[in-house]
Symmetry: C2
Subunit: 284 residues, 2 copies
Amino acid sequence: MSRFVLLPLALLACVPGAAQTPQPSDAVEADWRTIPDDELLVMTLGDDRRVVIRLAAYTPSHVANVRALARARWWDGLSVYRVQENWVAQWGDQTEKKPLPTGLTDRPAAEFEIAAFTPAVRMARPDPYSTASGITADGWPVATNGREAWLTHCYGMVGVARDALPSTGSGAELFTPIGQSARRLDRNYTVVGRIIEGMRHLSALPRSEAPMGVYATRGEDAAIVSVRLASDIPAGERPRFQYRAADNSRFEAAVRLRENPRPPTVSLGGASVCDVALPVRPAP
Amino acid sequence: MSRFVLLPLALLACVPGAAQTPQPSDAVEADWRTIPDDELLVMTLGDDRRVVIRLAAYTPSHVANVRALARARWWDGLSVYRVQENWVAQWGDQTEKKPLPTGLTDRPAAEFEIAAFTPAVRMARPDPYSTASGITADGWPVATNGREAWLTHCYGMVGVARDALPSTGSGAELFTPIGQSARRLDRNYTVVGRIIEGMRHLSALPRSEAPMGVYATRGEDAAIVSVRLASDIPAGERPRFQYRAADNSRFEAAVRLRENPRPPTVSLGGASVCDVALPVRPAP
């Protein structure tokens, strides 16, 4: 295997800005925007495995519940109890017996759709799940059917698990796609965030072959030590991240490069909105 | 978490035929076709973790090399040496120093494209990477731009790693996408097969944070005990599998149901060719 050659692939898969010489698709300092502390959810699994979730501003009722659950330390001592091959990892209370904290909206109205389709950069081609898709100025993948708009269930996005009735998700049980992006969940589940650090701590968990990938025994679960909003962590220990904004020609150039890579790579002329790199970095 | 309710999701993700009462989308016995023994590649990792790959009939030069490598027991004692988060797991000889067996075509002509686009079932909508896609009668995902046709780099497909020159892949180094399907590799890499059993043994391997996800030390590698064609395994120990053929109204109904699920699930009217379940089962 030649490292020399696969390196460009790695760059495509990771941070365009890592190229040797500045490219039109590279970010400049002004493109990096700090994520507010109360939009960072820090989940610590056993052995100090840290998973950081950026919360979305587009589904406020469910995100408010997620904040309330974190502030009540509700997830502490619970677990990742479901890891289904090429589907999802899911965490919360597998027994469904732990009372929800007071002040929580038990069953907020569904937020499967968001207010409007306002991408800063649109994908060149539609995909099978939508008529248009793109990345918002603040770095979220979105799609539309021409009427409704929604956050897309790309790999690593965080959704709200629920019962049969579409409005029964409280935000206490969360999941993330760990295989092929779960776009068929779009408009059927509420998306509350995206994993921006430590996805590997969920994606590499042992798969369960029990029904639905729910671990057959609690001993298989990955224990959740704590879940905190960064804003509730002492300033000195608080992680801070920046996202790469999409409201500029450099991000658009990065998307176009993904859709039309340079020779000798054969260009297919398009890419899925879930195939766009959404870089983050620790705040300097 | 309600098991009752997530069950339909699990069925969508797994085997449509597992429904309680027969549905138009269910397979009948005649839909199950046996995979020839010399189209099954059995890779055994340490701790008896078995990964079974179905070889494709569409890229014969590279598949001939894969068979020759297996018959020479070339992979025995080598390893899975690269596991890059949301990208690929790759195996073979990380040192690139092990001589290839005689009788191998060192650098066969690229087989990025296949002879023709002949799906038995076409997806309802195009995707960003192609103008049309679908599933062949013998159960392979394919796409076209109206001129060339190719096997798609869906999650779990097996591709031939190579150097910069498009024609330098021998088949000795293989990879499989372990995250979002790697469709941007379509027409840039040769696809030789698909993992039909034990994908979890690759998808759940620890991710490496070293450049390109290549494990920094050989001690991190997942050892390959052996790789054999099923046809070279004693008949009594030989695994046998059947795939669900797509040349029938039942498979088409399953695809349409994936594209247009029943209420209360909101239908998006389409699905990616990588989002179609391609069931296999042990031969009765």
